[in-house]
Amino acid sequence: MTGYIIRRLLWGVLLLFLVIAVTFLIFYLLPSVNPAILRAGRNGSPKVIAEISKDLGLNHPIYVQFWNYIKEIIFHGNFGYSYYYNDPVGGLIANRLPATLSLTVGAAALWVLIGIPVGIISAIKRRTFFDRAAMGAALVFVSAPVFWLGLIALYLFANDIGQFKIFPGSGSYVGLTVNPLKWFESLLLPWMVLSATSTAIYARLVRGSLLQVMGEDYIRTARAKGLPERTVILKHGMRSAMGPLVTVLGLDIASLLGGAILTEGVFDIPGIGRLNIDAIGHGDVTIVQGTVLVASIFIIIANIIVDIAYAFLDPRVRYE
């Protein structure tokens, strides 16, 4: 097992290196804005631009530039400097992480706590009114894009522009350490919007895999033992239905940690996604590179965690 984890970690590092290389190449080959022009300002003379280019090392051949970039990341944890803010990218991302983390963890908790029980009840009470209603609603939410749902939610429930002024609206985000109550209030609507689709997906996933598992012979054995139906479903049934759930959950959380771009955009939450959108607007390539890198790290780590969790969940999985 230890050997397996080490191998997986080494793979992760290799993968990360590839991601860095690819993002670097993409932005080198397809430069949207010359960073030197950006820094020089509106009236920068060619001379100034040339000087800035030299300062930024933009005149070096690509492999030198790549080496410098990698070197900074590995040895100094430095993701480069934002052309726009003139600050280290690492610091900018770190400042934005709490907001993204708050948004992701809350939404994930919501969709797990609602989606899984709804899925279980739907599976047990298959073809009843509850099942049909829940699966009908799930279909609606699966089909609703998050930016549309976000705007509708603001239109209906935001306390500034809403028809029913219930929740704080766009741009109301406050840090947890600043004011926990306001933090909670401001995130209620984003949490609901961000979790809506996933709640629906998880409810359908749980229903489907539980229905399949409940037809297995070992479920009949569990009943034949005289176990209460509750235990049959929640212990024997869910134990097997957990596998696919863990996989999806790990990857979902990881990809949101890389920035819930749409939700953060609609609700103007200063997270990594918002940072990314702004950077794209400013042509601030190093920030985009940095956020892509951070998102990749989250995904790679989540993959490793999911694989290890799998081995614990299912003893038949052997990683030797």
Binding site: D217, R223, A224
Partner: protein
């Protein structure tokens, strides 16, 4: 360890019917089945796939209720009618007084729990016993069913066991609460022949030592021949013949039983006897054939047999416990079986029974349909 087997009736099933309403009509999976089982005895229930033998057994422990089945009749077990007891009471009987083992021991054990914890669980539902005491008992049970090195094996997962060993684990789990009745549903079908014999020997030994009754469900007469005291042959949801083992193999009364016996090879029968498969397929349980349900496949059917529905009745005054549901008279059956037993063809058996001229040839279409 030997337990005196108490005498008397343990289980009495009376006119059990199990219907499944479906899109195409009502499936009469079990169609009026009655039998009794003494304490410590072994009953073999034999029949083709779809003859209702498994559904009938699952109904005993209330597991068909979950599939929308309509059940009627009486199932008297140890003084209670299992069809009228509360759901909760039935759950306490299930796995405690009546245990069941199944055909495929790999898929019947939960792949993600250690075998020990699955056995411990079976115990702790029905009795107050500490986890550690239950674990010790689980190891004893594994030893009892012949699993070597139970101290190590108790913490392994089902996939770490061979097929035969898995079935032993299932048996250990079933024995956890010392049931009065063990229902074994095709327990050896998925196993190698040599392992089959071991499992049957194990069940027979356990029955003797623990004094429990066994219902052995199988499609294989060879399996019940070794261990059953009494055998019921099922066809299309009904029992068509029931007798003590010795009589069933010696003087079978029903043409379907003849077919089963003549379709398996024997070592001690006359040499060069051709194996005779039973023609056709099991009938539809939604629209069973008129009259005797077996008549479309029966080589001895007479015209009247497609209208008269035979009842299961004593067929020989000298053996009141030997029942069969056949419209032929006793003399005809004796003559036909005598001819078949000595290696004759169904044609010769018909002649011996004196029905060669009036027998209706089985139309091909009816076999296929």
């Amino acid at each position: 360890m030997t337990v005196e087997s108490t005498t008397g009736t343990l289980l009495s099933v009376e006119d059990l019917r199990v219907d499944f309403p479906t899109f195409d009509g009502v499936v009469h999976a079990v169609d009026g089945v009655s039998y009794t089982l003494e304490h410590g005895a072994t009953l073999g229930i034999v029949g083709e796939s779809g003859s209702g033998k498994t559904v009938g057994a699952l109904t005993l422990i209330g597991l068909t209720r979950t599939q929308g089945a309509e059940v009627s009749g009486r199932i008297m077990f140890d003084g209670r009618d299992l069809l009228t007891v509360s759901k909760d009471e039935l759950r306490h009987i299930r796995g405690n007084e009546i245990a069941m083992i199944f055909q495929d021991p790999l898929s019947s054990l939960h792949p993600q729990f250690r075998v020990g914890s699955q056995i411990v669980e079976a115990m702790r539902i029905h009795r107050s016993i500490t986890r550690s005491a239950a674990r010790v008992r689980a190891m004893e049970l594994l030893e009892l069913v012949g699993i070597p090195d139970p101290r190590r094996r108790v913490d392994q997962y089902p996939h770490e066991f061979s097929g035969g060993m898995r079935q032993r684990v299932m048996i250990a789990m079933a024995l956890a609460n010392e049931p009065k009745l063990l229902i074994a549903d095709e327990p050896t079908t998925a196993l190698d022949v040599t392992v089959q014999a071991q499992i049957l020997a194990l069940l027979e030994r356990l029955r003797r030592e623990l004094g429990m009754a066994i219902i052995m469900i199988t499609h294989d007469l060879g399996v019940v021949a070794q261990i059953a005291d009494r055998i019921a042959v099922m066809y299309a949801g009904r029992i068509v013949e029931a007798a003590d083992s010795r009589r069933l193999f010696g003087v079978p009364q029903h043409p379907y039983t003849w077919g089963l016996l003549r379709s398996i090879p024997t070592l001690d029968g006359p040499r060069g006897v051709e194996l005779l498969p039973i023609p056709g397929r099991p009938p539809s349980l939604i629209h069973p054939p008129s009259g005797c349900h077996f008549h479309p496949r029966c080589a001895y059917a007479l015209p009247s047999h497609s209208t008269i529905d035979p009842v299961l009745a004593m067929s020989d005054a000298e053996a009141p416990s030997h029942l069969s549901a056949c419209l032929l008279d006793q003399g005809q059956r004796a003559a036909a079986w005598a001819a078949l037993k000595s290696g004759g063809t169904p044609e010769q058996a018909r002649q011996a029974a004196g029905i060669a001229d009036i027998a209706v040839p089985v139309p091909e279409a009816e076999i296929a349909g």
